[in-house]
Symmetry: C2
Subunit: 324 residues, 2 copies
């Protein structure tokens, strides 16, 4: 919390990205209604959000298009059906996973696409693949960011090597991702220090994507912005995989740039997110997510626990400790 230390001022470079459809799609297999997506798009514009992530550019060879909603694949035509020519200040983003995206064919030239930003997502073990996708997207004219996932169980020296490799690519933004929701604000501050070294060396921006396993997604996000991280991911009502993400309504309430407006977010949650909840879509902080976060484990066991409507937390804890 060093930089925005007055809290009353703001840093103009701070950029908010709405990841509701993409991370939320992991909860409902991307089956959002067009009404929901259109309302979200209009709300983001009114709220002053900078980027809206529509979903993944997932490989149709690897994933059956009949088993997922369309935002798993984000065809340009489907995006265009929502945003038209997108003659607004809101930019459009999609995520492309290394090894799960036929980017050469599925990502068109930016001049032919409604998309502005390609978000390459990689593990530490696939950085060369990420670099290739970054080069491809840049050649096609996009802004490009790169999420390095699951860093909380990686070696610091490997992370530094990866950041040095990515620094030499034309990527614009390097993202800190707390995939397991296991990091505390103090650790975020230390990780920002590491990322910042390479951001300064290679003239990159930094971003953060937090998860709420320990009710720290918002706290970690404001820690990061105070430490100089500019790009902030959030989702409406925390909608996202497992324990969910940094809540957009918390983040816009915190940020002091007058271009941001929390009221439309509140309206959207009331009208559209409550409906999702009523329909049985389940996400958000609960003890099973706290436990996987605490143990720095992937949340997949906790997600299964949730799907099975189990409530025997203590048995679950014994199970995951035994697997640890």
């Amino acid at each position: 919390m060093k930089e925005v230390s007055k809290l009353l001022d703001y840093r103009p470079g701070v950029t908010v990205l709405d990841a509701t459809l993409r991370d939320g799609g992991l909860v409902n297999d991307f089956y959002f209604t067009d009404e929901f997506v259109k309302a979200l798009y209009r709300t983001n514009i009114r709220a002053g959000v900078d980027y809206m992530e529509f979903g993944y550019k997932a490989s149709k060879e690897m994933f059956d298009a009949n088993k997922f909603g369309k935002w798993k694949f984000c065809n340009d035509d489907d995006i265009r059906a929502i945003v038209g020519d997108n003659d607004t200040d809101l930019k459009i983003a999609v995520m492309a996973d290394v090894g799960r995206c036929d980017y050469k064919q599925d990502i068109l030239n930016r001049s032919d696409s409604p998309i502005d930003l390609i978000r390459v997502a990689t593990y530490l073990s696939t950085i060369p693949g990420a670099a290739e996708m970054i080069e491809d997207a840049k050649r096609k004219g996009y802004e490009v960011s790169c999420n390095i996932m699951a860093i909380s169980n990686s070696q610091e020296s490997d992370l530094k090597a990866a950041l040095d490799m990515l620094g030499r690519t034309p990527v614009d933004v390097l993202y800190i991702v707390d995939s397991f929701g296991s990091l505390y604000p103090e650790q975020i501050a230390r990780i920002v220090d590491i990322y910042m070294e390479f951001a300064e060396k290679y003239n990159k921006k930094l971003g953060i994507h937090a998860h709420n396993n320990q009710q720290l997604a918002f706290a970690n996000t404001i820690e990061a912005v105070g430490d100089g991280v500019d790009w902030l991911d959030a989702t409406y009502a925390s909608l996202g995989r497992g324990a969910g993400n940094c809540a957009m309504e918390l983040l816009l309430g915190f940020l002091k740039n007058p271009k941001y407006n929390v009221y439309p977010v509140i309206q959207f949650v009331e009208e559209h997110i409550n409906k999702l909840k009523d329909e049985g879509v389940v996400w958000g902080y609960d003890l099973q997510y706290l436990m996987t976060g605490l143990l720095n484990q992937h949340p997949r066991t906790a997600i299964q626990f949730t799907k099975d409507k189990r409530r025997d937390y203590s048995e679950f804890y014994r199970e995951i400790v035994a697997q640890d």
Copy 2:
């Protein structure tokens, strides 16, 4: 987050107080079953919790004993029925509000009581009354702490004057209380600085009691412990007024002193807190609490909104902004 900066070590002076019955009692008018209270007592012992707060010593002249459960009043005999001679390492606390407690008669000598700690709660406007209660409790042989409530809308110079007055009393612990859940970690750090000046001058310990309106109760608590605050309030599953408190399961997961054990907490939540929820007791983070927190308002309007089972967040926002 300056002091516990390795996260892997611990500070022996850190003390955890379970406020579940007292702050949770504000949600269900203190109607806990004896089974619940006994199980909580046993769980706290197993979890290594240092203090268990049973409730208030509320004036029976001001409050009708027929309209509240017994933990609003905490008769020594009722506590003894749970703890017997309390031949354990867990100490017993009660809260006494300035102006709402007949402390001269209702607080007995410690030698005749199962209670160890009297927690005097005061507003900035009633510090002399608090000082008198502190003196009385000390004379009777108790440990004494003092919560200064609602500091987020007070003047810093008034706060300093109050801390100087309280410093000259025999109080043991001065508590930072974020009554409205409106403070960010960076503000907690600044407030700790102010409190620490007087804690050092007068040789007092510091404590923190956080609320979860902005999902920051845990984050603010670990910020404070990193800044040198030793006494940490938490409640099981955040049970407490409005948005609730710092969750015990998060806090014990974070603290590294081996005397703390999160597993019994998980068991208690599974067996007893889930039942409360099923019975319709409602607390915890929701947008109405975010809004009052954001506006630094008392949560009473949000509590009413919750009681009325309203979900029209945007209308509520308009209402409380209009009152602001």
